[in-house]
């Protein structure tokens, strides 16, 4: 059903199969499809114990006392631990160490870990939890992010001094970060009124984005094994082994080299595994009980156990001249970070710098806020602050187009950024950005057939409501919508998220073989496949083994920010180049190589410029393997200015354009997405098939946010912590997709590639919302769009 424009050939030597630009099978593919893949929750050792976590039933309470005696007395229980048993640092965190390993003083969200238990059976562990007595003094939850942000009388979630204030980007109160951006007249102190007076058309809007969950299928789980040297070996599903290690070791009071991590089978991540969950708990229990301890969350606990996408409340105003040129934009974006900091400051940085989208706007005033509340903590999720803003600015662009009587694509093209333009932080876009072309390609793609052209126009699977057979097709209205989003790729704002790779080339059993070792987390995205491809291309050897990721090699950074193919791919490439240099030197030294000849590696041999085999690698390397380790750093970035938001804070920009076609049952408020068209520039398609999978997945996740995915929170309590009531798109909700991949290389990036995992999550949601608006005529200022919103009824009241 899906149509894909295959990227062009790579232009690299082709004597070695399955290199860069090919689409080799992924090694974990068949195992995952057949259910044989070992995920972290499948781990088992002979003598292991089961860990379990007692969590706060209150979103906000003073913790008066924890009595574990009755739990400890239960036969089969080997350890019951509270904050008093944490030997080292009592708190951890990605940006600030503000999250308690186990609560002390106060609990700040419902589900916060208070005590942990290890027992010889999961049922025994559960019973032990029931026997722990906790005294709470319940406090009023701080659940309204706007009040938390702007009402000076609002109680503080964190007592003054308990979270570091840098006096610049964080200045106390309930704000984790406030990031302003001021350009043009706003930088000179102009008021909105002054700019409004100069505009011919002004549109304003209030928008809301609900709390999306990453909804990975493999719950948080890991196995901690105490080691003879007093340390611990942790096998865990995570996104970044070294940042876990760097947070776990201080809490355990151990040196980092005593805390060794290995990646266990990861069942999806999408940002939710960037923060710690059960890691420190399992290690504490294993070290105390002197037995291996496994912790596996169930689905409900998983919803409590990881951060979600920040829900957003946004106010926008755009002014334009009568011919459709944008004059100014004003945005206030409030992101509810929940109880702990996690990555909220970085998410605010993205929301601010990407706050008005990829448009040339001479005068901009953005204020992005990250707020502490006693709601569930929020942090990293695919799109990372840019998703929320994109729904706001793209809704505004549609409203402006409607006011001007312009086609939504034409208005966007007229104001599009391009290579050489500056984003609102003042940073110049120095790589290709074919935004206008991408928009036109999305608009001009063939439309899906109308209902009457279907083989069976009344097949419920093609209709809103699906197999529930609510409609035969009468009163179903089609709508089309467009959106574009721009996302910074790799870590920003001065963060040096380098990656390390160790590559070994040797002769094994009479043939050349490559071993690649990194700590990069394969979270399902296909990075293991890509590492192998790069090694094949660079070393001309088909036999490549990618070792399991662990902390015996240097950091590879996080599997997030669309960065791994760029960064770990770059590190593997650099290590391969170093290996190649040594191998060629060896060939010159030992082999019958004409002096001064240009050599390369291909087909398992050293070859001349004309392709003649000079010496087989197996022969050259017999008994003398070549191994090199390299770190790869992207170009330096810097923190934006705390007052005007100016500065070159980003490494690279990614963009995707979506066209959504939907059918809406306007009476019932149900939607069927008929087709999604995505146009994305990826610089270079390293693995075209996996790449298309990323864009399809991003699109589906955006469709989910547009129409159904929301963690519903009332007074700090998640009301739908299950896949029964947190709905993600099924196959009947995931439409055929037309994916159009452009390859305009970024000269600064390995192979010219551009991170591809995230951009599609930005534009998919507003494109669907725009299409539903087109079908219904309703304003629809909130996602997910509920049936109530489409039929014009009040939203359900949230009750605990």
């Amino acid at each position: 059903m899906s149509e894909t424009t295959a990227p062009a050939s790579t232009g690299l030597p082709t004597a070695t199969r399955d290199g860069v630009g090919a689409s080799p099978l992924r090694p974990d593919g068949a195992l995952k499809a057949t259910g044989e893949f070992a995920y972290s929750s499948d781990m088992w050792t002979e003598d292991m114990l089961w860990g379990a976590t007692l969590r706060s039933p209150h979103p906000h309470a003073r913790l008066l006392g924890v009595d574990t005696a009755a739990a400890l007395a239960l036969p089969g229980v080997h350890a019951v631990l509270t904050h008093e048993d944490v030997p080292g640092e009592k708190r951890y965190g990605l940006e600030y160490a503000d999250q308690p390993v186990l609560a002390f003083g106060k609990v700040r969200y419902k589900g916060e870990p208070v005590a942990i238990v290890a027992a010889d059976h999961p049922e025994t562990a559960r019973r032990a939890l029931d026997r722990i007595r906790v005294d709470y003094e319940v406090l009023e939850p701080v659940s309204d992010p706007l009040r938390a942000a702007f009402d000076p009388d609002c109680p503080l979630v964190h007592e003054e001094g308990s979270v570091p204030d840098d006096g610049r980007h964080r200045r106390g109160g309930n704000l984790a970060r406030h990031q302003p951006v001021r350009t043009g007249a706003f930088a000179e102190g102009a008021t909105v009124e002054e700019l409004r007076a100069r505009a011919d058309v002004v549109v304003t809007g209030s928008y809301e984005v609900g709390m999306q969950d990453q909804a990975f299928l493999g719950p948080e789980s890991g196995l901690a094994v105490p080691a003879e040297d007093g340390g611990v070996d942790l096998y865990v599903a995570t996104q970044w082994l070294h940042v876990d290690q760097g947070q776990i070791a201080p809490c355990l009071g151990l040196a980092p080299d005593k805390v060794r991590l290995a990646l266990a089978g990861v069942g999806g991540a999408f940002g939710a595994r960037e923060d710690l969950s059960m890691q420190v708990h399992a290690c504490l229990l294993a070290l105390r009980a002197r037995r291996p301890v496994k912790i596996v969350y169930n689905r409900e606990e998983s919803f409590l156990g990881h951060v979600h996408r920040h829900p957003a409340r946004m106010e926008y105003e755009h002014g334009a001249t009568g011919d459709g040129a944008l004059l100014y934009a004003v945005a206030r974006i409030v992101l509810d970070g929940g109880a702990y900091t996690s990555t909220t400051p970085a998410v605010v940085g993205v929301a601010a710098s990407m706050g008005v989208g990829p448009y040339a706007i001479p005068n901009v005033r953005v204020d992005a806020y990250g707020v502490y509340t006693t709601n569930p903590p929020c942090g990293a999720m695919r799109g990372f602050g840019a998703v929320q803003a994109c729904f706001g600015y793209e809704s505004q662009m549609d409203a402006l187009a409607a006011r001007l009587g312009a086609h939504p694509v034409d208005l966007r093209v007229a104001n599009a950024l391009a290579q050489g333009s500056r984003v609102i932080t003042g940073q110049r876009i120095d790589a290709p950005l074919p935004m206008a072309e991408m928009l036109l390609r999305a608009r001009d793609a063939p439309m899906p057939p109308g209902r009457s052209a279907l083989p069976d126009p009344a097949d419920p699977r093609t209709l809103p409501g699906g197999v529930s057979a609510t409609v035969l097709g009468e009163g179903v209205v089609r709508g089309v919508g467009y959106a574009v989003g721009m996302k910074n790729l790799c870590f920003s704002e001065g963060f040096d998220d380098y990656s390390t790779a160790r590559v070994r080339l040797e002769s094994v059993g009479g043939g050349p073989a490559v071993t690649v070792h990194t700590a990069a987390a394969e979270v399902g995205q296909g990075l293991v496949t890509v590492q192998g491809q790069i090694a094949r291309t660079e070393l001309g050897v088909e036999r490549v083994t990618v070792l399991p990721a662990d902390t015996r090699v240097g950091s590879a950074g996080s599997s997030s920010a669309s960065r791994q193919t760029y960064m770990t791919g770059g590190a593997v490439k650099a290590a391969c180049e170093a290996v190649r240099e040594r191998v060629l030197a060896l060939a010159r030294e030992r082999g019958p190589v004409p002096p001064g000849a240009r050599l390369s590696l291909s087909g398992g041999a050293v070859v001349s410029a004309s392709g003649d085999v000079l010496v087989p690698l197996a022969e050259l390397l017999d008994g003398s393997p070549v191994e090199e380790t390299r770190e790869y750093h992207h170009r330096a970035t810097r923190m934006v200015d705390p007052v005007n938001g100016q500065g070159d804070s980003h490494v690279q920009f990614g963009m995707c354009v979506h066209r959504a076609v939907v059918d809406v049952d306007v009476e019932l408020g149900l939607v069927k997405v008929v087709e999604m068209t995505a146009v994305q520039d990826v610089g270079r398609a390293v693995h075209p098939q996996q790449l298309v999978g990323q864009i399809q997945g991003a699109t589906a996740q955006g469709v989910g946010l547009a129409l159904m995915e929301e963690v519903q929170v009332a007074d700090g309590v998640i009301r739908n912590p299950s896949f029964t009531d947190y709905l993600i798109p099924t196959v009947l909700d995931t439409p055929p997709m037309r994916i159009d991949v452009l390859e305009c290389p970024d000269p600064a990036a390995p192979y010219g590639l551009r991170g591809a995992g995230e951009p599609g999550t930005l534009s998919s949601t507003p494109a669907v919302a725009a299409a539903v608006r087109a079908a219904t005529g309703r304003a629809l200022t909130r996602v997910p769009i509920r049936p109530e919103d489409i039929v014009g009824l009040p939203a359900p009241r949230r009750r605990r």
Binding site: G465, A469, R719, L732, P787
Partner: protein, 289 residues
């Protein structure tokens, strides 16, 4: 937790008599979810999967006797003609894997107001067959649902079967969910026209503490309907029918939708069902009646 695994129906009834607090389990699509989420810790389970006959259906007079354990997949495959509304409801249940295990007996045992089977059973006047060591009794579905998750089944009884009357006219089922498959009903509605008795049956799901009927709507439609020719009903009558169905609901706001939307959607489903049933009646009236 005790696990009882009777090999025969008699053993199962004896077990339930001895342990009235034991929870029967067959497909496990409800019971296991509750146990896994720690919402329920029954002192004992009676595994009925070894009991012969529960997964079978057979003709029973004009109608069908549907074993309590016939999975939804079996209903979809075999009973589209004998029980159209129930078959349509079965098609909308969850996912293929769950349809392979879940059964009407489980829906009746759990008695969640959101169970997809309830509205067709109400609309078609099906009968629930309950059994205990003391004997068998038959309770109309319309008298089965007493309160939130409370039914006419006594603690010592097991649900043996459901008796589905032969259709005597068109039947319709539809449910609203916020995604296009594998969704729990926000609201559902079943309609059955009975040309022999010239009555209209309704069933409402997910819009009250129990599955509900809309008696006022049933009487109104029976009186308005052209039982001779199935002439299209006037717009106003169809509209009134929708209002009466919506008025019979007792919905609340919850995570799946608002009370107001549930009433609204019920009215839409009821209007569409009646209009379509009338059209079906015109097209195939002679055959169905």
């Amino acid at each position: 937790m005790e696990f009882l695994s009777p090999a025969t129906w008699e053993e199962a009834l004896a077990a339930k008599s001895e342990r009235p607090d034991a929870v029967p389990i067959m497909g496990g699509t409800d019971v296991m979810v509750e146990i896994n989420f720690d919402r329920r810790r029954p002192p004992a389970l009676i595994d009925l999967t070894r009991v012969p006959g529960l997964r079978e259906w057979r003709a029973d007079g004009d109608g069908v006797r549907l074993g309590a354990g016939v999975p939804y997949t079996g209903i979809v495959d075999a009973l589209g003609g004998a029980a159209p509304a129930l078959a349509a409801a079965a098609r909308s249940v969850a996912s293929p894997q769950i349809r392979n295990r879940g059964s009407v007996g489980g829906n009746l045992g759990g008695a969640s107001p959101a169970g997809d089977a309830h509205p067709p059973l109400l609309a078609t006047d099906a009968v629930v067959e309950l059994a205990s060591v003391g004997g068998v009794r038959r309770v109309p579905a319309r008298e089965f649902y007493l309160g939130p998750r409370r039914t006419a089944r006594r603690d010592d009884e097991l649900i043996a079967a459901v008796l589905l009357p032969a259709p005597a006219g068109p039947q319709r089922f539809a449910k609203v969910g916020t995604r296009n498959a594998m969704v729990i009903a926000v609201v559902s509605f079943a309609l059955a026209l009975d040309a022999r008795s010239r009555t209209v049956g309704t069933g409402i799901g997910s819009a009250g503490p129990t599955p509900l009927r809309a008696p006022g709507a049933e009487e109104f439609a029976a009186a308005e309907f052209d039982w001779e020719g199935g002439a299209p009903l006037p717009e106003s009558a169809v509209h009134r029918f929708g209002e009466l169905v919506a008025a019979a609901a007792r919905p609340i706001d919850d995570v799946r939708g608002s009370a107001g939307y549930r009433r609204h959607a019920l009215a839409v489903l009821a209007r569409r069902a009646l209009a379509r049933a009338a059209a079906d009646y015109r097209e195939g009236g002679a055959r169905c009646a």
